[in-house]
Symmetry: none
Subunit: 202 residues, 4 copies
């Protein structure tokens, strides 16, 4: 095999491992993920996994990072023409929808205290917007609202952090409490998003 083909093959296997792990995490949660379960899912032996990853944690981290990126890509720079309040509402709503689509993963990601995971999930430190695009986008929208006079003057990054945390809280609880009706879910989401946006208003 040529070096290129080998690398491609190697890459493929890595992906299969990640896919298998993702499926398991999605189905039964990170806690129930075992290296053997990945192997079983792939129809491979458990040992081989250590050829591609140095530990189970590395796999988990990789899966969670991917999912995280999928989820936060809902928060993107808004159409410049769109008023800030609408832009934020749109962003938050689709972020929430994304997150609710992968409950197990979202909670695993956002509740993880692992250094590796925090490396891409931490948002609260001052200046975090410099390394967290989603935070930066949200802060930018807030800033836009302030400039346009729609929102009251406020530290935009701080507000963005508080808002993302709030939204995270609602999603996390919705993912944990199983018995909530779809209708109630929608009401809660609306209520919280409205609360946030009104809270920003001048």
């Amino acid at each position: 095999m040529s070096k290129a083909r080998q690398q491609k093959h190697s890459h493929e296997i890595r992906n299969r491992i990640l896919k298998a792990a993702a499926r398991i995490i999605s189905d039964v949660g990170v806690e129930a993920l075992s290296v053997r379960s990945i192997a079983r899912e792939m129809d491979y032996s458990a040992g081989i996994i250590y050829h591609y990853f140095s530990s189970k944690d590395e796999i988990i981290e990789s899966v969670l990072r991917d999912r995280y990126n999928e989820i936060i890509q809902a928060i993107t720079p808004s159409d410049t023409a769109m008023p800030a309040d609408e832009a934020i509402q749109t962003s938050l709503t689709s972020y929430i929808e994304n997150a609710l689509r992968m409950p197990s993963e979202y909670n695993s990601i956002m509740q993880s205290a692992s250094q590796k995971v925090l490396a891409f999930t931490s948002i609260l430190a001052k200046g975090s917007q410099k390394i967290r695009p989603a935070l930066a986008h949200l802060a930018a929208d807030i800033e836009k609202g302030i400039i346009s006079g729609l929102f009251r003057p406020i530290d935009a990054e701080l507000a963005a952090q508080a808002i993302i945390s709030a939204v995270f809280g609602l999603i996390a609880r919705l993912n944990i409490e199983k018995g909530v009706t779809e209708e109630q879910k929608a009401s809660l989401i609306n209520c919280q998003v409205e609360l946030i946006i009104r809270g920003l208003k001048a």
Copy 2:
């Protein structure tokens, strides 16, 4: 030993077990709590724990329930004279302070999907205020604000649910992200609480 003294002794051991469990949960989290670790912490044999509790889960549940009660007791019926916005600010702030004082426990409690734990932590279902005093108190304060004209008309229970979720989200992230300065913490809390209260205003 007299019966009384024996009972006292028994009660003490139970407490020591709970304390040890609480310490471990606080140090390394519920996931890492094992019956053996409790025994080790107490310098006892593992078996004896089953003299006092019928299962590990019973211990966990007991610890978490206790901590939960400590934390939510911050949200109590407010002074009738106090304006609703102030009352809510006070409640939320001391709730947050309580929760930040036991980071590991708070997160364990609020992130637990166990039926036993959800039995006292679930808040999102419609009508939850009937069984959740803290939720009821918060909703009552919101209602008071609406009646007094301070707040806009809104479904008080729904708003209370959205607010508690929001606050939970911030606390949970603060507990997870270790490197946040105290100053930044305070700013975030202020910012979120203000956002919420302004969001309620008429």
Copy 3:
């Protein structure tokens, strides 16, 4: 308390322990009998049991001995007027009925290889009839049959041993195989008893 009363009391407690143990063995089998389960059943502490018995095995042995005696008392010296075949049929049938009434105990007794239990259950050694009344009675009936010309000449003790073993085998299997209908049970018993008696006939 007078010495006599004390002894009486002590005797009563012993009996309560045995009763409790008997009930548990009957309900869930010897394997599932634990000292603690006895204590629970009696509403006493586990420790006290060791005041009255030196070990769990001693209790088991005592219970099994009692039950054994109840069961084999079906095999008693027959009415001298009754023909040997009838006498044996009567004996065996009521022995079987007794045994089927306490399935768990009977199997525990007869399947026990413990020295203590074998001390009263062993029947196969040559000369066992000298120490095993039931065996002696059965052998006597066989002898009677031989003398009366009803049965062929045969070593009566040996035949008695073979017969009791045969009957034990049927009972044991009936106790183990749960799905056998009452009708089938009766047929099997009849069939075996008839086989035995015809086998003895001249």
Copy 4:
């Protein structure tokens, strides 16, 4: 290692596990068999056993089934020329001999009330000969005897069930009662087999 060799190796280990388990069962009985004891016997770690078997029960069942098959293969369709009484005597005698060669296993098998084991040991239900070859063979021999006029008319399956139970009873007791001399053993076996065959005769 080649695939073939590996498979062979794997097969060998499985066999070693089964052998070790069989040895322990033979020495101390099924009740005392533990996964750890197997591992100890093999000088292996306990965990590895779960590489080859999914549970302790699977091992037990496998051992018992194997032994059972070895034992009952004594009861096979008889030479058509041989008279029924001789055929049955031969069958039963070699069945007994087989069983006495593995006392502990035989008793474990026949005294087991586990569903898994009963799946191949139950014989008493009406119609069992359809699924139990040994029973069918014995019933066939009885039938042959009836047709040839050697035996009295009798429900052949029922008789076969009663007979196997009888023989089981004798074997079980012989296995339990250790002190019986070889001579006495032989006498008892002869006596019982003769009793049975005479019991069948016309």
